[in-house]
Amino acid sequence: MSNEFAVQFTPQEMIVVAGARTLENNKVVFAGTGLPMVAITLAQLTHAPGIIPVFEAGAVGSLLTRGLPLSVGCSRTTSKAMYLQGLNSAFELAQRGYCDYGFIGGAEIDMYGNLNSTMIGAFPEGYQKPALRLPGSGGASDMASSCERTIIIMVHEKRRFTEKLNYLTSPGYLDGSSGARQRAGLVGQGPYRVITTRAVLGFDEETRRMKLLATLPGETVSSVQENTGFELLVDPNVREFEPPTQEEIRLIREEIDPHGYFIKRKA
């Protein structure tokens, strides 16, 4: 039964399942707060028990079996940790090359996988008085800079998938030109996947433009494009992403986030 597809699930549950499935076993994953933590926990409980999480507050290699952390600085990130220092140490591990993936979110994304989590308004002139002030980079821009690849998790709305960011917080492929990241001095290779409430996307190797790889249940290539503020490339083998299994949904609802901290029961 448990490998049968679930019938009812929310977009947040779908995104967590898609995120978890994207993670390879035995890789080092530098995780931002919120949905990435839920997805890593799900992956550790299913196909990827050997994932090695890194949290910017300091914990490395934890098993997230002590209750879902409500923050990357919370004590639950330290369960069975194999290294426990602080922010400098965690970011230096990424800068050195120890972190295969960074797993982050943002408020806006452009076609080259650059993210904004700082402000809505005019930059630089309006920086000191933005229309809407967001929390700021945190460690996301550092993960995007120095983890070898980045996995991005986003709510898929047209205003968030935008031609031009209000502010570039976390570097993706920058202007998309060949070697742009290297010229800027970045060491990681850049964005690998964008997991959204509607689709799983990657990036074209030639143009570094965002490319639709799979549509989530209920979506089509054109529904995804309609909800995207720039033109998507579409993979010739674009496919329909498999829905969550009953077991995945059970794990999320009963074991990982029973109180619905990050995964609300209603969409």
């Binding site: 949290f55 300091g58 990357v72 602080g86 000191q128 008085k129 742009a180 001095g185």
Partner: protein, 333 residues
């Protein structure tokens, strides 16, 4: 070049001329804040988002009132939020001039009402950094270096919104960002354990607390409990902040409440939501809830014990219980 806090040269000579002897540094919180925190100072806020934030110290600063502070931190939640709320309520009593920071929010509990209020109304200067940038700035300060290279977030607007520079590596020729040291006038740090001389033992993630202590001109430590010096030196490998980086030691159980303190208590979601609701209604134009909150929990109680005394025992018991139960499961002790 603006050096908020101390310049590298000032920071060195300040420390050189300071008494670094091993002496009893116990103080009352009010006395410590009064002795070290002055108008115009740059404060280094330790902790991380809502974990081990120096909430008690921040409340005392609000009680005493200060003007034109600069706040420097990587990621803060409650400590920045409380200070900003005090400014929002009465700028003549307490004010902040400038923020140097990477993230200000309350994670799970939402984005910051006060960051929105102050910035969208243009009331403060903001300087934008990444978490690694700010951590590296404190680290450079702790190491006695005027700057340190940091590879992130190159290519971003963050580096256009701050004082970092890009140089070519003298060896590889590749571009690399360099960030200037940060030497706050006063560091505010909450830890689990300290001895009377200021040696501190941090359990769980260290965040950037040791670097902030070593980089600052003065450091005020609040701790959940004082431990005997002999107990502290029995495991010197566990001492994270050495005594000579500390100026005041204040024993203050629940000094990070309503935030989280590893091994002692978890977040008090009930209280944090109460505070955040009051702030959010202020941002939307309704002052009363926030005025009431500050009166009831910060200004009228006079001290930390008074604040904690206002919190229902059931909440305190619950947050201790869930934190300690997790630990006993984990450690088998």
């Amino acid at each position: 070049m603006l050096w908020s806090g101390l310049s590298p040269e000032e920071a060195r000579s300040f420390l050189v001329n300071k008494d670094k002897s091993k002496k009893d540094k116990r103080m009352g919180l009010s006395e410590a804040i009064n002795a070290f925190v002055q108008d115009g100072h740059t404060l280094g806020l330790a902790g991380f988002v809502n974990s081990r934030q120096p909430v008690a110290a921040v409340h005392e600063i609000i009680r005493q009132g200060r003007k034109n502070l600069t706040l420097a931190f990587h990621s803060a939640g409650l400590s920045a939020e409380y200070l900003a709320g005090a400014m929002a309520l009465d700028e003549n009593r307490f004010s902040i001039k400038r923020f140097e920071f990477a993230y200000w929010g309350i994670e799970l509990f939402g984005i910051s009402s006060m960051l929105r209020y102050l910035s969208e109304n243009g009331k403060v200067e903001l300087e934008d950094w990444s978490n690694f940038n700010m951590s590296a700035r404190f680290k450079a300060g702790a190491m006695g270096l005027p700057f340190i290279p940091c590879r992130s977030p190159m290519g971003s607007d963050v580096l256009r919104a701050n004082r970092s520079k890009i140089i070519d590596c003298p060896f590889t020729g590749s571009p690399v960002a360099v960030v200037p040291a940060c030497h706050p006038n006063v560091a505010l740090i909450h830890v689990q354990e300290a001895d009377i001389y200021g040696n501190c033992r941090i359990e769980g993630p260290l965040f950037t607390c040791p670097e902030i202590a070593l980089a600052s001109a003065h450091t005020i430590v609040t701790c959940e409990r004082l431990v005997e010096h002999d107990e502290m030196t029995r495991e010197p490998n566990l001492i994270n902040i050495p005594f000579f980086a500390v100026d005041a030691v204040v024993e203050l159980p629940f000094g990070a409440y309503p935030g989280h303190c590893h091994g002692h208590y978890y977040f008090d979601e009930v209280h944090i939501r109460e505070f955040r609701c009051a702030e959010e209604s202020f941002r939307k134009g309704e002052r009363k809830a926030l005025v009431d909150y500050y009166s009831r929990y910060i200004l009228e109680p006079h001290d930390t014990d008074g604040f904690i005394g206002q919190v229902p025992y059931s909440q305190l018991r619950y947050i201790r219980q869930i934190e300690k139960r997790d630990f006993s499961l984990l450690n088998g002790k």
